[in-house]
Homo-oligomer: 138 residues x 2
């Protein structure tokens, strides 16, 4: 099942140069903005909008993939805390934001969305180096 | 397992006047700030910090409770989209923010945390009326 008007279904977002790994029912990508190092996005493969629209078996497997990948990110980036968000306000296709919050976080008590900042876009080499660090723990 | 310094473990937060229901491994409360109507919080009963710290059986049950309660909120408030967030930056005890985004949302494309607003505190009567609306669908 896919929706041709959906950026995730059409493969427009996230960019394939940010692809980390196929987790099973979902795919993991590095987020384009690396102001928060290690911010990743786990995208469900088929088009679905709400957790409660999934079959229980799908939902369970998706959440196991999200949880395991969050652990990988926490270990890779030595996170003090992980943040998990399923919002979908701009693109309702189910995708999880997984955000390691590090010891040098600029505002550790705040949600990342409350912290004004310029987007940090890594070079292609640094994107690949970051992905390689994550993949070592997968 | 509990942590005496934790506001969730000690029962200081959320306030018992905002209690909606015991979901099994978690308890649901109305959020104190109702600027976004129906914003609720699902608090895991025992002290744990990350999804990946839970036993798989616990994690699966917790996420089923979160998903089912999100559906109840979506139906009660006729949400266009649900937002789900597990942050824990201020209080690391696992608690899920479940936020119905309605058709009259002031900034439907944005995370709620990016929308400056004055806190909306309901009267005790309106809190209980809102909780009663939600409980009808449980």
């Amino acid at each position: 099942m896919s929706d041709p008007s959906c950026k995730a279904c059409s493969g427009t977002w996230p960019g394939s140069d940010h692809f980390i790994a196929d987790l099973g029912l979902s795919m993991a990508y590095l987020h384009e903005d690396q102001y928060f190092p290690g911010w990743a996005v786990v995208v469900f493969k088929r088009h679905a909008i709400e957790l409660f629209h999934l079959a229980p078996t799908e939902r369970i497997q998706l959440m196991e993939e999200v949880s395991q990948f969050a652990k990988v990110l926490a270990e890779t980036f030595d996170a003090k805390k992980m943040n998990y968000g399923l919002l979908g306000n701009q693109m309702p296709h189910i995708h999880w934001h997984l955000i390691p919050r590090l010891s040098n976080d600029p505002a550790p008590l705040q949600p990342v969305w409350r912290i004004p900042h310029d987007r940090v876009t890594l070079s292609a080499d640094r994107i690949q180096a970051t992905i390689a660090r994550i993949k070592k723990r997968l």
